[in-house]
């Protein structure tokens, strides 16, 4: 055990080794302690509960008891440790003999102490603190480039280093589709496409972007991105998979927040501490639903262990969502890659630490309910203004509590490193959540704004400027354009943390408007297959919800109003229920009038996510998901070829066309316009006609032959690559 503790110290000691500048005799001890020991046993951190920065602390010792016996160096554990004489070897790289001798003499002399009572702990000089993401956000000058917006100026500067040029701009018909899917997750109609393509105004693009940003469907689209990150679902998972009543109100809060362009700092503060802020409202308290989105096992194996697993889940969700750091990795040991100490994990965990929460009661459904907590508090992680101290767990093991950790912020951001203040007199909670939120939204926090603008960029371009949106640490990727990332982050804050201006800036850039095909793409791809220089747009595959919404939009069935409210349960084939342990109680579809609502309102049951969505990479809901997979597998083709929902839409389309249009040619044209939003080319009309002829022969004699024939064509269109990909 001793040697394990030792291994935690290794890294830091290595960084603290400085050239031994032996000062005069009196201060020699102070200098040795400061340089060799205080990195781990000082004011910043007290490993094994031991501090070595004052005579009193040294005399007191740590978890293992006293470390010195004044006058008797041979019996002092500290002296044994520096001599590497037992299991405990400190520091790992043995001190020079002269320093050991000084320490021995000092113990033998009875610990004489001069000067200030406490030796200040030297600033950390862990080189990992120099990692780009931990540096302050600056506002780099925009590269000089005529007539382009700042986004383009940064991107052009990058391309110039290779002598490359951006892809040519897309035409308006491609552009309007792109922005519709990007901002609303819905297709423009044929008429909308044509009106836009023929708009003579130079302001047409700007007007379009503004119109879509004002559309209530914008929040449904962008809110869904956030719901992925916070692992939103409406049940608890595990055996009983109980419904969390009213959690949909959180979903609506998210959607409304995007629609209202709620400042990001407010967005974060309400979710973490909507009940603790001075100007709290019913809505801000609903926002704290964030705190109870996780899974909830009401029959855990070991209640004590489970308590800490829940805590880890909260730290992970919070760390990932807002600051893209894998703080959870430091539960058992100092982070292997990032400058996040084990004590940092417990500092952040202290925010969600109640000391009391015991799973088991089925009333809790993801945390104690309003009955237990008082009528309006949705946060379940604290139950009073004072809580028991939180202890570091050795190796993360709940059965091995170690030293008490003082609640506070991550030491990783040195400029904001401080302990939490006690809650105000009148507070009902610890106010640690509010302090965490304030820390995150402090303009000096180098992560929050960068993480946010990166997400916005990611959902417009398919990937972020930082390609690992969930990890800004040392194992994450470096930004493709660090200056642009910083410029956007500073712009976000300068605009009062509002997101919509950021969308405008990006969507109206030439970088966004590039074609997905570049004349030199073969050559460019040889050295930049990952498109890190953003020399063209990337074709995007529709995500699961957008695909389903587009199917409903094509058939004209989609029901956009009313928005929000209780979720609906789609029809799921009985075959898909086979995997459930309690089949009968499993799934009750909502009435038909509900079935055509937007996918964001589908009831999200952890034990049974709708197969049509999961087949198209709807993410797992137990962990934060910051970037969806895009897979192409045969079951997706099976779903679109055979699923009754898809056939239902083709049938409805066919009936509509037959009712509204006569003549095969006109019917084909209308099918193309409704499904793909464009007029078919002559070769396509020809192929479609041949298809109708063949199918009508095959179906001849069937009562619905005419509808079935045209439905077959519509069904083919719904299956095309053009339907699933946006250029």
């Amino acid at each position: 055990m001793m040697s394990r503790r030792l291994s935690f110290l290794v890294v830091l000691f290595t960084f603290l080794l400085a050239s031994p500048a032996m000062a005069e005799e009196k201060s020699a001890i102070r200098s040795i302690l400061a340089e060799r020991c205080l990195g781990c046993h000082g004011s910043r951190e007290a490993k094994a509960g031991l501090r070595l920065d004052s005579r009193a602390a040294i005399s007191k010792g740590g978890e293992g008891g006293p470390v010195v016996v004044p006058g008797k160096p041979a019996e002092s554990r500290l002296i044994k440790a520096v001599n590497h004489a037992g299991d405990l070897k400190m520091p790992e790289k043995k001190l020079p003999a002269t320093e050991i001798a000084t320490l021995e003499k000092w113990v033998a002399d009875g610990l004489p102490w001069t000067g200030d009572a406490e030796i200040p702990t030297p600033a950390a000089n862990d080189p990992r603190l120099k990692h780009w993401a931990f540096q302050p956000i600056t506002r780099p000058p925009v590269p000089k480039e005529n007539g382009v917006n700042p986004v383009d100026a940064f991107i052009r500067a990058g391309l110039k280093t290779k002598g490359w040029s951006p892809a040519p701009p897309t035409d308006r018909r491609v552009f309007i589709r792109r922005v519709y899917f990007d901002l609303l997750g819905l297709p423009p109609s044929f008429e909308q496409v044509e009106a836009f393509a023929n708009d003579p105004s130079k302001e047409a693009e700007a007007k379009l972007v503004d119109k879509l940003l004002d559309s209530p469907q914008y929040g449904e689209r962008w809110g869904r991105h956030w719901l992925d990150i916070v692992r939103y679902a409406e049940t608890c998972g595990y055996e009983r998979d109980q419904v969390k009543p009213n959690i949909w109100k959180y979903r609506d809060w998210v959607i409304n927040a995007f629609n209202a362009d709620m400042p990001v700092d407010r967005f974060i503060r309400e979710q973490l501490a909507g009940d603790e802020i001075p100007d709290r409202t019913e809505q801000s308290v609903i926002a704290t639903g964030f705190l109870r989105l996780g899974t909830w096992n009401d029959e855990p194996n070991d209640a004590n262990e489970y308590k800490y697993d829940r805590l880890e889940d909260m730290v992970h969700a919070t760390g990932t969502a807002f600051i893209a750091l894998t703080v959870k990795c430091a539960r058992c040991h100092d982070h292997k890659f990032d400058p996040i100490k084990q004590t940092d994990y417990y500092r952040m965990a202290s925010v969600f630490w109640s000391g009391y929460i015991e799973p088991g009661s089925r009333d809790h459904l993801g945390g104690p309910g309003t009955k237990v907590l008082g009528f309006d508090v949705h946060g379940w992680t604290d139950r009073g203004r004072t809580v028991p101290p939180i202890k570091l767990l050795k190796k993360g093991d709940p059965n091995r509590p170690g030293a008490v950790v003082e609640p506070g912020h991550l030491s990783t951001i040195a400029v904001l490193d401080k302990p939490f203040a006690p809650p105000p007199e009148s507070a009902k909670t610890t106010h640690r959540r509010l302090q965490l939120a304030n820390w995150m939204t402090d303009r000096q926090n180098p992560l929050t704004a960068r993480v946010w603008v990166n997400r916005v960029w990611q959902h417009h371009f398919g990937l972020g400027l930082v390609r690992t949106p969930d990890n800004f640490g040392l194992t994450g990727e470096k930004p493709t354009h660090p200056e642009l990332l910083d410029w956007l982050a500073s712009e976000l804050m300068a605009n009062g943390w509002k997101t919509k201006p950021l969308h405008r800036l990006i969507l109206l850039s030439e970088t966004y408007r590039q074609s997905s095909i570049h004349p030199q793409q073969e050559e460019y791809a040889k050295t930049d297959a990952g498109n890190r220089l953003w020399w063209r747009a990337e074709r995007q595959r529709l995500d699961a919800e957008t695909l389903r919404d587009r199917l409903l939009a094509a058939s004209g069935q989609i029901k956009l109003e009313p928005r929000g409210g209780l979720s609906f349960s789609p029809v799921i084939p009985p075959d898909a229920l086979e995997g459930l342990s309690t089949k009968s109680a499993a799934w009750k579809p909502s009435p038909p009038t509900e079935q055509t609502r937007r996918s964001v309102y589908i009831f999200s049951k952890r034990g049974l996510l709708p197969p049509l969505l999961t087949t198209f990479d709807f993410p797992d809901t137990t962990l934060p998901s910051c970037q969806r997979d895009v897979t192409t597998v045969a079951p997706q083709a099976l779903a679109l070829m055979n699923n009754p929902f898809v056939h239902e839409q083709s049938g409805i389309l066919a009936k509509r066309i037959l009712k509204e249009t006569s003549g095969q040619d006109a019917q084909i044209r209308q099918a193309w316009q409704l499904v793909l939003g464009r007029t078919p080319r002559p070769t396509e009309i020809q192929a479609a006609m041949a298809h109708l002829e063949k199918q009508s022969k095959t179906f001849a004699g069937r009562p619905e032959a005419a509808t079935e024939t045209l439905a077959s064509l519509c069904h083919v269109l719904l299956n095309l690559n053009e339907f699933l990909y946006v250029d």
């Binding site: 194996n301 194992t475 297959a529 779903a639 250029d727």
Partner: protein
């Protein structure tokens, strides 16, 4: 330590390099050899393309016979004569355990059916498994298994994913992630349910967690079409569907022609042809019409109570024969007595479930052997935990959950037969000798399939994740 995704390289970066294309864009399940090309572009090899194991081994496939609910070790594969002597006495004090569900505490209770030696090895197997006993020389019984949970939900998830909480990739996912699969017309990882229902916690038991959904288990339904969406409306089958696919191909080709280098588009076009083949390959794989009467009888198909599990065992053989990498079969579904969860009566519960599976399992082992497939197929038998050596109240014939000691066995696929490994204490209460934690079990299974559990990693949110986390020791003694 070598790893698939070394530190500093993200999974997505890896995918780019492998696919040579843009991030995460074109993962397909196409056989690399299909390499249908367009201009200079080849469709990228998919996530399930066959991969070489880390080291050469015999096993190419795995069939995991999951006894959902937790069979009792002292009544099946771990004889404890001492229980006769101490019958009716309480478990000695000092044996610490969690009383799952706070059930009534009873007294030490001997095995409900006698054990008899099987095969040349004389490996003892109880009368709940008389036919499996005939294959004793093929079995390596691990008697010292232990796990981390006494509750079904978390113990099932642990047996399947290594952790007691949901959200991690399952064993089968790790297998197909590491090895791909041999037949691209069929899924690589198939799960066959019991008609009575699925396991507690459902999908996370065969999910791929943080891995791509391409590695997740495909549920084969016990009735009707084995997978969802295998068939559209009747009038669109056969020639009419082919006509649709031909039109799609034509229109997609025009679309692709205008988008040079569209590997993602090409991959999706290919996936339709694959799906078309799956429509016939999948029903064919589960269609028992061409099996001989003799075979059907051997598996107990058409007889009760063996029909259902017999069918599933036979389907499992047909699947591994056709190149499916990992098949998991559930015996028992839903809750309590519908599973091996014998709280009420071992005799009744294990009598029923034993009878349902004994003959089919024996037939599966014979059949695999006869076809020369046993050597390359690892067969695993066991539940999520075992049961207590004591009853639930005086004179009560049931037993409560026991995560501290239980038995599992393996056969085929390079496993030594006719042996027992490790031991529980004199009562069969807890593993004491050569203990095998479920991480060790997982490490061993991966090893038998040619995968080093420390090398098989998946980079996720800053960490090289493993099935065995930072644990796991291969049980070398059972490997031939």
């Amino acid at each position: 330590m070598k790893s698939f995704f070394p530190c500093g390289q993200t999974r997505r970066e890896f995918v780019w390099e492998m696919g040579g294309g843009f991030a995460g864009l074109a993962l397909t399940s196409l056989l690399a050899s299909e390499g249908f090309t367009f201009g200079k572009e080849a469709a990228p090899a998919g996530p399930l393309a066959p991969k070489k194991p880390h080291f050469p081994v015999k096993a190419k496939a795995c069939i995991f016979l999951m006894m959902n609910g937790g069979p009792s070790q002292v009544d099946t594969f771990d004889p404890k004569p001492t229980l006769e002597k101490f019958a009716g006495q309480p478990l000695p004090e000092g044996k610490k355990f969690i009383n799952s569900g706070g059930r009534k505490m009873g007294f030490l209770t001997p095995s409900f059916r006698p054990f008899k030696p099987g095969g040349k090895s004389g490996l003892p197997v109880s009368d709940f498994f008389p036919k499996v006993r005939e294959h004793a020389d093929k079995l390596a019984v691990i008697r010292s298994c232990h796990t981390d949970s006494h509750a079904h939900g978390s113990a099932l998830v642990a047996m399947n994913t290594g952790k007691t909480f949901i959200g991690r990739p399952s064993l089968g996912s790790w297998a197909v992630y590491g090895l791909g699969t041999a037949n691209q017309d069929l899924p690589g990882y198939v799960v066959l349910m019991d008609k009575r229902g699925g396991p507690i916690s459902g999908q996370p038991n065969w999910g791929s967690g943080f891995m791509s959904a391409a590695y997740s288990g495909m549920l084969f339904r016990p009735t009707g079409d084995p997978i969802l969406d295998l068939r559209g409306p009747a009038h669109l089958s056969g020639a009419a569907q082919r006509e649709q696919l031909d039109l799609m191909a034509k229109l997609n080709q025009e679309h692709l022609d205008a988008r040079p280098g569209g590997r993602d588009l090409l991959a999706r076009m290919n996936s339709y042809e694959l799906a078309y083949r799956m429509q016939s390959a999948t029903p064919e794989a589960v269609d028992l019409a061409k099996e001989t009467k003799q075979t059907l009888e051997a598996y107990g198909v058409g007889q009760q109570p063996t029909d259902e599990f017999g069918r599933n065992c036979l389907i499992a053989r047909r699947l591994v024969e056709r190149g499916v990498r990992f098949v998991q079969l559930y015996s028992g579904g839903g809750h309590l007595e519908d599973t091996w969860d014998a709280h009420q009566s071992i005799e009744k519960n294990h009598g029923q479930h034993g009878k349902e599976v004994d003959q089919p399992i024996a037939a599966l082992l014979s059949d695999l052997e006869r076809r020369g497939l046993l050597d390359e197929t690892l067969v695993i038998w066991g539940g999520e935990f075992g049961r207590m050596p004591f009853s639930e109240g005086k004179g009560e014939p049931g037993r409560n959950h026991n995560p501290y000691g239980f038995s599992m066995w393996m056969a085929g696929g390079g496993v030594k037969g006719g042996m027992a490994y490790g031991a529980t204490d004199e009562f069969g209460f807890e593993a004491v000798e050569k203990k095998v934690h479920l991480h060790d079990l997982h490490a061993t299974i991966l090893h038998l399939m040619g995968l080093d559990h420390e090398q098989l990693t998946y980079f996720h949110q800053g960490r090289n994740e493993r099935l065995t986390d930072v644990y796991g020791k291969v049980v070398k003694d059972i490997i031939a």
